[in-house]
Amino acid sequence: MSWAGKILRVDLTNGLVKAEPLNMDWARAYIGSRGLASKYLVEEMDPKTDPLSPANKLIWATGPLTGTMASTGGRYTVVTKGPLTNAIACSNSGGYFGAELKMAGWDMVIVEGKSPKPVYLFISDDVAELRDASGLWGKTVWQTEELLKKTLQDPLLRVSSIGRAGENQVLYASIVNDLHRAAGRSGVGAVAGSKGLKAIAVRGTKGVGNIRDPKAFMIAVKQAKKVLADNAVTGQGLPTYGTQVLMNVINEVGALPTRNHRDVQFEGAKDISAEAMATPRKTDGKKHLVTNQACFGCTIACGRISKMDESHFTVQNKPQYWGASGGLEYEAAWALGAANGVNDLEALQYANQLCNEDGIDPISFGATVGAVMELYEMGVLTREQVGIEAKFGSAQALAFLAEQTVTGQGFGKEVGLGSKRLTAKYGHPDLSMSVKGQEFPAYDSRGIQGMGLAYATSNRGACHLRGYTVASEVMGIPVKTDPLATEGKPELVKAFQDATAAFDSSGLCIFTTFAWGLPDLAPQITAACGEDYSTENLGLIGERIWNMERDFNNRSGMTAADDTLPKRLLTEPAKTGPAKGRVNELAKMLPHYYEVRGWNPDGTLKPETRQRLGL
């Protein structure tokens, strides 16, 4: 089985909680986590729902492999309709919270309505109750976790919560667990804030004990762990350097978006890279990087734990930021750094700590600051409006805007809207480097063509975690393709999107796919669940999930016109590097992608596609 078989429904409006049996037909067809929670959302909610209204639902979901010995089995997702994108949102997080929720005996928590006063949800195995959170409202994520453990006298509690940014409904507010692991994207934290839900605190002692074939499971799991250990990326690159191993690599291929995508290479990349994190600082002789860290069950351990220079201008007399803390990961280092032209590693880690402390997505925040800096340099925004001189490269402006945004002060309120709304407000919507309202991650699609198609068609807006063709186009996983070619990319993007949806729904981490394919996942999940999760079936399930998400977006009012990229990427050629002179050739890929997907030219699903996928 491996599912707990039970979900918790929370009615915030009336203050009620209720246990329900899991819909096993849906579980078999959509596995868990991303797929299964999305199925519940799609079935239960009008796609046109306003994301910040009480009618939106907010689902915490584990997968069948969450809380098991399968490597990386600590993931959970938060599924809702995203306020940043108005599309289906699904943000995935590691740490320990997800496994604890599963070990308490719950596959999912479905939160509905809006509480008349701030509350948090307390779960201890079968016991679940809403409790008053007036003492927690206004507190940061870090304070919330500390206060809950202290007042409940339980240091083993696991907490998933929002900070002040979520309360203030910053449109890219995240939900953070275990201090620095986040369901980061699309503004899932703002939805929690809109509902008056501060946190979920959970203790789970029951465990996951209903593995269908324990013997086969342990054999499959051990074998798959060996594949991870023997692989150069998951066995060496990620544990040693973290995702930051990519900074110099992506800069060299000319796909490191710089200064709001004006450039594709950053002269300061080396200063904010994995190598820089591991080199002793001139100021105090200490390394930025302290150690690597694993999430629950993870045998890769890519997480970074760093310590800042205590004399750095951002943290002088602020000892709360002197301890070891999460960061920097590649996406955050890029968004807070290259996207703004800032090469001050310490300033990036300070901003990153604020993102974790008060729960905002560093990618959307950093990219929005990039847009602000461009508007500032154009003279559209002034020093008086922003509150500080905000030219590209200013570490002071980055730190100041991070403080203002997480606390909802001054110009931070506008930064909290995200780049799409902010640039539109000041008359330059083309300067928002986003798709469906969500900012790009750290790969410029002029230098990695397939990523342009992956971004344009991603169901949650621009995102690297929905179809990471960088693996193929840059790293040669599973096969090397030419990053500047468009031929074959529709098929490649589809294959990555479908496989990713299956992995995301299992409860495992997508980083395993640097070493694993669906044939490595199949025996583990089959032994755990006792279902026919063959490689082929998993691929089909992934495709089903992708199409279900797409259909939800279509019914919410999105059209093929939303599957596009900002003008800059389609018309302004890359200035330097291997992709010099190139734009993203989306138009060459998109129509064929629709065909490969079995969609009509307007981006809707053909009847035969629905039928084939059981939608």
């Binding site: 004990g209 351990a301 070891a324």
Partner: protein, 157 residues
């Protein structure tokens, strides 16, 4: 040869594979809450420290037990709780200076590490070598070798 669990906290990443392996070995379920080895996360320093029973020779728990429910496994040297004899009085949990023997409310007995009869599941599951099961007389071997390397890795004169 007697073997012991040897812990090198510097290698621990905090993945909790050991805790899951322990609970699976003893209860057939993945439940970190029921593990006999615990990993502590000191987030201000970034250190993770696995901690479990060291199998004291003069075990406080064994001597404190009023019903002689804790005995020595002659093969492994482990101090083992006999569940049928244990009355759940918890005196051993008071006696143990290290806190590594604990009461289990579900069973009404105490539990502690028993070295899995000589094949500890935690050591087998640890992906980084932070937990190993090695010759009891030579737990310092790795560290000695590390320092010896100062000489050994120099080219011959």
């Amino acid at each position: 040869m007697q073997k012991v669990l040897h812990i090198n906290a510097d290698k621990c990443t905090g993945c909790l594979q050991c805790e899951m392996a322990c609970s699976f070995e003893n209860y057939g379920t993945f439940a970190t809450a029921r593990s006999r080895i615990k990993v502590f996360d000191f987030h201000h320093t970034g250190k993770k420290v696995p901690y479990t029973c060291t199998q004291c020779d003069e075990a406080w728990c064994l001597h404190a037990c009023p019903v002689e429910a804790i005995t020595i496994d002659r093969l492994t040297g482990a101090k083992v709780v006999n569940e049928t004899t244990c009355v759940g009085c918890k005196v051993c949990t008071i006696a143990c200076p290290f806190g590594t023997i604990n009461y289990v409310q579900e069973s009404g007995k105490v539990q502690k590490c028993d070295l899995c009869g000589g094949e500890p599941a935690c050591a087998d599951a640890c992906p980084t070598g932070a937990i190993t099961f090695i010759d009891a007389n030579w737990t310092g071997l790795d560290r000695m070798k590390q320092w010896a390397g100062k000489l050994g890795n120099q080219p011959a004169a």
